[in-house]
């Protein structure tokens, strides 16, 4: 990333060593936090993968076995296959959707946008559970179809790779839609007009000019989509499809702690997934940075190029958006039905309504709700205390190594949650026995979700004109005073959105926490998983999931109030 602030750099030059010494102290402190919470555990993870079980020796043995064993290879292949299918599906579904949202002038644009983007903030497992209830073997849809005599035997809607692709697609679709629609909105209209004048009409123009120009913003989302199957261990597990890398790692590590060899193989799988994720992430980043196209147009409107489609196209667009919106809406609706009912089995709709589930999770054992808020809250405070100084350091100073700091934190975006969880489990058990204290939970959440906050603080910092701060310094205020009286109030909006987003993300974190929790430390997501997994408190799990959705939704409303738009809220502050 390049940030040009010639004015500021001169200022720093004149102030000399004194000013930069405190900046270097700050940098050193931030680096030590990163070293302790990120670099140290991850290196332990890597070290562990080289351990040979039953001996005290180290070696490449586990890796050789991983790449020779047909089972692990098959798992690896499956994951790649799922990733590709997922990317294809979301792209095919996403291109028209993004185009409709970005370019067509239609009623209910905000509502549709909000609905289609909703999965981005919903916990992935909430979707899985809702779809099992609705599309499962004896789920609502199958039961209804059988009641109407349309089918004799239940259809297999979701168990299998097709179901995985379906569920994960719906969850990841927003990333593609957001990226592409931002692209469609932001590209300089004259690029397309020039093509129009040159003789390219309609589809041809879209293929040769519009779409290629959107590739950078598409790719940013696409890489996250592609990496999702390397991260999501829960969905395959619940659907009974375990032959995917993250699920295998999870099972190997969480269930076979007595079989040390299997544990090491699990760690190898985690490291391999992480390597795939990081390299693809870096590749995409490198490519995007190389290909960032900017127009020169001064007169582009905020909404970009908007067209009025023909009535036929328009109704098609409505139907298409409606279908996807309905699928998304199924998640809260089904979970809601389940949460307010009991013994909802073998019936298309619940028959026995009750508030028991909520009484259970809110009054009888409110620990999980309390833990969720407590852990996410502490993680959030840590995030702000750490994220703002980092953003300051990266954007406003010329401290050596600041870009490396930014880079390491951004990399955390690519790391599978399971890698963080496992590495914390390994690193903070012996040696530094932090994992025996509950503080490990918020620390892990903080480390895992840090990039989300940082990116937002970062981009709002970039939009803050340095001369505003310089003016304050020239008027005699010190750096710290300037920060609190000038920078912070101006950054507040962007930072607040980042704060809420961070909280939402930490609130629904499970991949990391599942390896670290102990009795009494359960959070809502863990509670949902456990209740579901045990197969007993089905309704309680649904109630927890429903509660999470409600909380998330309220938080989202707050964000959109702050930032004035759901789209902006979900994607961070507007681009400069």
């Amino acid at each position: 990333m390049k940030h040009g602030q010639p004015g500021l750099s001169v200022l720093h030059f004149c102030k000399g060593w004194d000013m930069s010494r405190s900046q270097y102290l700050l940098a050193a402190f931030l680096w030590s936090v990163i070293a302790f919470l990120v670099i140290y555990p991850l290196s332990i993870l890597v070290l562990e993968s080289f351990k040979i079980s039953g001996t005290e020796t180290w070696g490449l043995g586990n890796y050789l076995e991983f790449f020779k064993d047909t089972y692990y290879l098959k798992t690896f292949g499956n994951t790649l296959l799922l990733s590709s299918l997922l990317l294809i599906t979301t792209t095919v579904l996403g291109i028209p959707l993004a185009y409709i949202l970005a370019r067509y002038r239609h009623r209910g644009k905000t509502v549709f946008t909000a609905l289609i983007l909703l999965p981005i903030v919903l916990p992935a497992f909430a979707g899985v559970f809702a779809f099992i209830i609705f599309f499962g073997k004896y789920g609502t849809l199958n039961l209804l179809l059988m009641d109407f005599g349309l089918i004799d035997k239940p259809l297999n809607f979701i168990y299998g790779i097709h179901g995985l692709v379906f569920i994960q697609s719906l969850h990841m679709l927003p990333f593609i839609v957001l990226g592409l629609s931002a692209g469609f909105t932001n590209i300089d209209p004259s690029f397309e007009e020039a093509a129009e004048v040159e003789g390219a009409s309609g589809f041809r123009r879209f293929i040769t000019v519009t779409l290629p120009l959107c590739t950078p913003s598409y790719l940013a989302g696409a890489v996250l989509v592609f990496l999702w199957p390397f991260t999501d261990w829960l969905t395959p597990l619940i659907l009974g499809q375990v032959d995917f890398l993250p699920s295998v790692s999870y099972i190997n590590i969480a269930y076979h702690f007595t079989d040390v060899h299997r544990k090491y193989m699990g760690v190898v799988a985690v490291v391999v997934s992480s390597l795939v994720c990081i390299s693809l992430f870096l590749l995409a980043r490198w490519w995007v940075e190389k290909k960032t196209y900017t127009g020169l147009s001064k007169g582009t409107t905020e909404e970009g190029r908007v067209v009025e489609p023909s009535p036929l196209v328009k109704s098609g667009a409505y139907i298409y958006m409606g279908l996807i919106a309905i699928l998304v809406l199924l998640i809260p609706v089904v979970l809601g039905l389940s949460a307010f009912s009991r013994r909802w089995v073998f019936e298309p709709f619940p028959t026995y309504w009750t508030l028991d589930n909520f009484r259970l999770i809110l009054l009888d054992s409110p620990g999980m709700v309390k833990n969720s808020f407590l852990f996410s809250g502490i993680a959030l405070v840590l995030g702000i205390a750490f994220g703002l100084p980092v953003a300051y350091l990266v954007v406003r100073t010329r401290v050596v190594g600041k870009d490396a700091l930014d880079f390491v934190i951004t990399l955390m975006l690519a790391f599978p949650g399971i890698a963080i969880g496992v590495s914390y489990m390994l690193a903070f058990w012996q040696g530094i026995p932090l994992a025996t204290y509950w503080i490990i939970m918020p620390l892990a959440l903080f480390a895992r979700r840090l990039p989300y906050f940082l990116r937002m603080a970062h981009s709002s910092y970039l939009q803050l004109d340095p001369s505003l701060e310089e003016a304050s310094e020239v008027s005699g205020a010190g750096k710290l005073r300037t920060f609190f009286s000038i920078s912070l109030p101006l950054l507040l909006k962007g930072v607040l959105v980042g704060v809420v987003m961070f909280f939402i993300m930490a609130f629904q974190e499970i991949s990391t926490a599942i390896f670290l929790y102990r009795g009494g430390w359960e959070t809502l997501p863990i509670g949902i998983y456990l209740n579901w997994h045990r197969g007993m408190e089905f309704g309680a799990a649904a109630a927890m999931a429903f509660l999470m959705i409600v909380i998330t939704f309220i938080l989202l409303l707050i964000i959109s109030r702050i930032s004035g738009g759901v789209l902006k809220a979900a994607w961070g502050t507007a681009k400069k």
């Binding site: 004259s190 020039a194 129009e196 004048v197 390219a200 020169l296």
Partner: protein
């Protein structure tokens, strides 16, 4: 019949009139400039000619073919070349691919395509840069790519939308002449949009001055400078001193009137047309700064001489600019740079009746 005819063109955006039933005729091979401040409708008019906007009324006839009245003709079917204000050179394509984009769509044979691209690149002075990406070019070079792309298909009409406004002053001046000679050599009928009067005067055969959706004057640069149609045009093209007043006397047969202004009873002015009205009519007696003559002693042999004081002066290299006050009226005067003047000095201003006009 003119090559391009714009007939009662009408375009509005959300109830705001952008182009108000304008009529224009552009001859074959002519270079016409639409000149006006931002928001005057010049770019909208150009985009209507290109087909990038759909006007609500009127017609545009290019080479005898109506673009609107017999069904909307898509931009891609109009046979025009266009240069955009921000170049709109596609950043994901190399220079060569940018230029041959339109040729490819016409299914031009490869060999011919190469030949045409080569000659047009030579024409704009970009030979050898075929394989560069736009991001590797300077602003001026990108502008030349845009020009080459617009010219390569030998369009019937060339449209230029403030093509030089993103370049620095020196380059802008250079390219003005280049574009002019290039377009003239190729004999393409062209419409040029700009808000820069100097650019318009250099580049065009005729200028159409626009104000809030209307063409207020159409003519050569000289006609417009010397005989502005109204106060707006006079103010927009060059600098003009306006002295508000009312006509007190009309001299029939002489195209002369006397105007009563704030500082005098009778200021003799020439009119472009016959003026019948007399008295009470609000007019502006006006004179260009370079037409005001200064005298140290009051010349006794002529009328239209008034005493003024220098309030401010500016040295502009090739001439000296004086801000003067005649009574309460501000008058700007341009004199040769070697004439020594001091602030506060009192001088006599002579408004030559031949060069003092009235505007409405």
């Amino acid at each position: 019949m003119a090559f391009i005819e714009i007939q009662d063109l009408y375009k509005e955006f959300k109830k705001v009139v952008a182009v108000n039933r304008i009529r224009l005729e552009i001859e074959q091979g002519e270079m016409l400039t639409l000149l006006g401040p931002s928001g005057c409708g010049k770019t909208t008019t150009l985009r209507c000619i290109a087909g990038l906007e759909r006007p609500e009324g009127g017609d545009i006839i290019i080479d005898g073919k109506p673009m609107l009245s017999k069904g909307f003709v898509q931009p891609s079917k109009r046979g025009i070349g266009m240069v955009f204000q921000n170049y709109a050179v596609w950043p994901h394509m190399k220079v060569y691919n940018n230029i041959v984009y339109g040729l490819k769509l016409q299914k031009t044979p490869k060999k011919e395509m190469k030949q045409q691209a080569k000659s047009v690149l030579e024409l704009v002075g970009l030979s050898g840069l075929e394989d560069r990406y736009p991001s590797q070019l300077s602003g001026g070079q990108q502008q030349r790519v845009a020009l080459a792309r617009a010219l390569v298909r030998n369009p019937k009409v060339l449209l230029l939308d403030e093509p030089l406004s993103n370049l620095d002053a020196k380059l802008r001046e250079e390219l003005r002449f280049e574009i002019k000679s290039l377009v003239r050599r190729m004999g393409i009928t062209s419409v040029y949009v700009t808000h820069d009067q100097a650019e318009a005067m250099v580049i065009s055969d005729r200028i159409a001055v626009m104000e809030s959706g209307n063409v207020v004057q159409l003519g050569t640069a000289q006609e417009i400078y010397q005989k502005p149609a109204n106060k707006f045009v006079a103010d927009f093209i060059g600098t003009m001193n306006f002295m508000p007043g009312s006509i007190v006397e009309v001299y029939p047969g002489e195209n002369k009137v006397a105007v009563q202004t704030e500082f005098c009873e009778k200021l003799m002015c020439t009119t472009f047309e016959k003026v019948d009205a007399k008295g009470a009519e609000r007019v502006y007696a006006s004179i260009r700064p370079e037409d005001v003559e200064l005298f140290a002693e009051k010349p006794l042999d002529r009328e239209n001489v008034f005493k003024g004081t220098i309030t401010n002066k500016a040295y502009l290299g090739n001439f000296l600019y004086l801000f003067m006050k005649v009574n309460e009226t501000d008058i700007r005067v341009q004199v040769p740079h070697f004439v020594p003047q001091d602030e506060g000095q009192q001088l006599f201003l002579f408004f030559n009746p031949e060069k003092c006009n009235i505007l409405f």
